[in-house]
Amino acid sequence: MRHDEFVGHRKRRMAHAPVSARADSATAPPESAGDDSHMSAKAGGRQGIAMLLLCIASLIAVEALLFARGRVLAGQIADAVLLFLILQVKPGPGRRSPATWSLSHALSLGWNPSEATRDAMRSLALVPLIRVVSVGLPLRDVSYPAGTLAVGLIIGSAAMVLAPVVGVAPRTFLTARAPRVQLQAVLGGLLLGFVAYLLGAPALWPTGASHERALLGLVAVVAAAAAEEIVFRGVVQWTLQRALGRAGVLAAAALFASTYLGAGSASLVLTVALAGLVFARTVVRTGGLSGAVGGHVVFAVGAGAIWPALLGRSHPAWLSGPVPIIALAVATAGMTAIIMRRHDGHEQSPSAGEAPVAPRLAQLPSIGSGLSVRRAVVGGLPARAVFRRTTARRSSVAQLSVQIIISNHNYGEYITEAIDSARNQVHPNVSIVVVDDGSTDDSRERLRRYRGTVDVVLKENGGQASAINAGLARGRADIVMLLDADDVLKPHAATRLAAAFASDPGIAKVQFRMDVIDARGRATGVTKPQPHIPMPQGDLRSAELAFPFDISWSGGGGNAFRTAALERILPIPEDDYPRRGADWYLVHLTTLLGPVVSLPDICASYRVHGRNGYEPRAPQLDLDHVRETIRYARVTGQALARLADELGLEYPRPILSLSELSNRLVSLKLEPELHPVQSDRAWRLAADAVRAAHRRFDVAWPMKAMFITWFAAAAAAPPPVARELAEIFMFPERRTRLNALLSRLHRGPGQPPRGGAD
């Protein structure tokens, strides 16, 4: 199909297809073979949520037992049992042995939690741990502040270590964005601290205490406040919010309040609950803990030290009546309603291991209409255009339609598994298009049995770009997922992606990790990108235009795109990507059209079977692969420059990336006669590398110096040495000791140079 035909065809379909009729026959619930896993995934999800709620209720009940009856030992035993049970959460997908399977399977009663539910359960372990440790410590002859400080340091440290395990990045705790919201939390803490003082909160230190005692008390309060916020807002709230949505925020606040049941009167507990909700709201809005910790410190110090010092310790008698309880209950209900209110566009979505999307981006929808030329500071670089606000509306997750395009060329042995995985999606609004790109094996025969259930397109061999273009021309959904015929989707993939897109109509692309399976579908224990590599998200235009091929992107199958964004850049130019590499075009160009979200979840399996089109078979230099990468990078870089010009974006010219330059240098040094860029000279490439390294705002200067040193050495070295240098540079497996150091030198979006979008 020619490009003009393609565009015309798409426009006709767009003009005639009503929004409600986007789903085709393939959106019907999976039948027959797909039913079991489909139902089991749904049931597992429901069971997971039920177990999570049961766990939260049990923790609150134990706190009530502990404080209502004063049975400290019974409470500690109950907490110990709960802690043990929580730690038996069933392992996630990946390698597991029969022994671990049976143990956790028996204890978990066969429930099959999602990744988010698993993380939430694990984070809840911190709550009973607080009580088991605080009761278990020998604090008889230790002052209250010293005891609190000890417990705070132990629990705070445990929470900081646990955070990355449950998918929360500790560095986001220090986020100080949205200062006005953070200040509101501090003022709220001050006000509620005054209320707590009026209601008889205990003093931090006795009258006439020494300066040393007062100082220790202050240090203990600050440490305790930080530890409590890290536990309840930083870890528990984030993970519960991921698993339960807005209700998770309330659940975390309820847990927090329950641990204060022994604080004194009902009104005092309500004050603490209200303070917890205020801090929770701040964390939801800012994505960081700074305001919550500040508010908590002001709350505790104000209630226990400042207000008593200023106003004395006598309290009005009427405050012991029902009036304050009613007023606080109303205020708590109001705060609950505010938190449960519909998404207002300023909230941070909890993303495991990733920096949250910057707040300004969360409220900057728009894709299809492009970018304005309004100047702003975005992504750390000055003078960038921001995404233009449009009238695009938020959609519920279920409303968003997802189109899965499966492109196939001679992957007959895997194609049915790919199609079945697409049909088994839990998401209710999924359509499937399978494009067979001139297969000569038994693919078409296998596809026959799907006629009538999925949209099958049979075409002559034209390459990956032509297959994707043909698939995109067949339908119109809100979201498009690309799936290679040898890969497999997880049942929850479309739902997770739809949820991410639903959170902000401006998001252009959502990427996720994939676990690597072998030809027989067995997990290899490897994920792509690797788990220790943070995947960038947010407004990445600055990085994309400064060093596009040095950013760690998930491969084509690890992405979903908003159709409105794709419409601006489609069709994929088939002449530029004659065989493969079409995903380079989509992955890179969509980054200029809206914010990017990186999901922590593994949503698909990537199969390595020895016949992969673009997968190195071993960590050894393959110069054909290097030259192919150079060609993809060059045409993609040109397409990026064209789009940036169309959008009125400023960018450094020419677009350079260290990974692309390294590929060109290696190709030139080792096989100059086949090098695809005739004008290249080794020293000129080294000089360009200095410029490219200078643009890498995501790495520290020692790493830039290492890059420049490598280029200088590779440019000067004889070919055998250059080959060795190339393998060390391109394959992290060949420099395991150096990787730990390199990872510490990263500070923002972008990763150590690799092969671009693969």
């Binding site: 004063g70 030992l73 694990r122 278990g136 209250y144 417990v151 022994g262």
Partner: protein, 80 residues
Amino acid sequence: MSDLLPPLVQHAVASKTVFSASQAFGVVTLVLLVVLLLEREVLRIARAQPARLKALSIAAVPLLVAVALTIWARLAIILR
């Protein structure tokens, strides 16, 4: 005022000697620690997922600190 060490808990701990407290609260901590460490070893031998082992370790370390401090306190009293 902190939920890390509520007055009720502090009072319960302070009302006992180190010896009697460690025979009550300390035993619970110790038993849980031993169970978690045993489970961790079993899972390690069975090559369980690293994330699972890490979660167990993270829970075990604070308990280990509590048990170590309790033993140290008892020893300090005996040696004194």
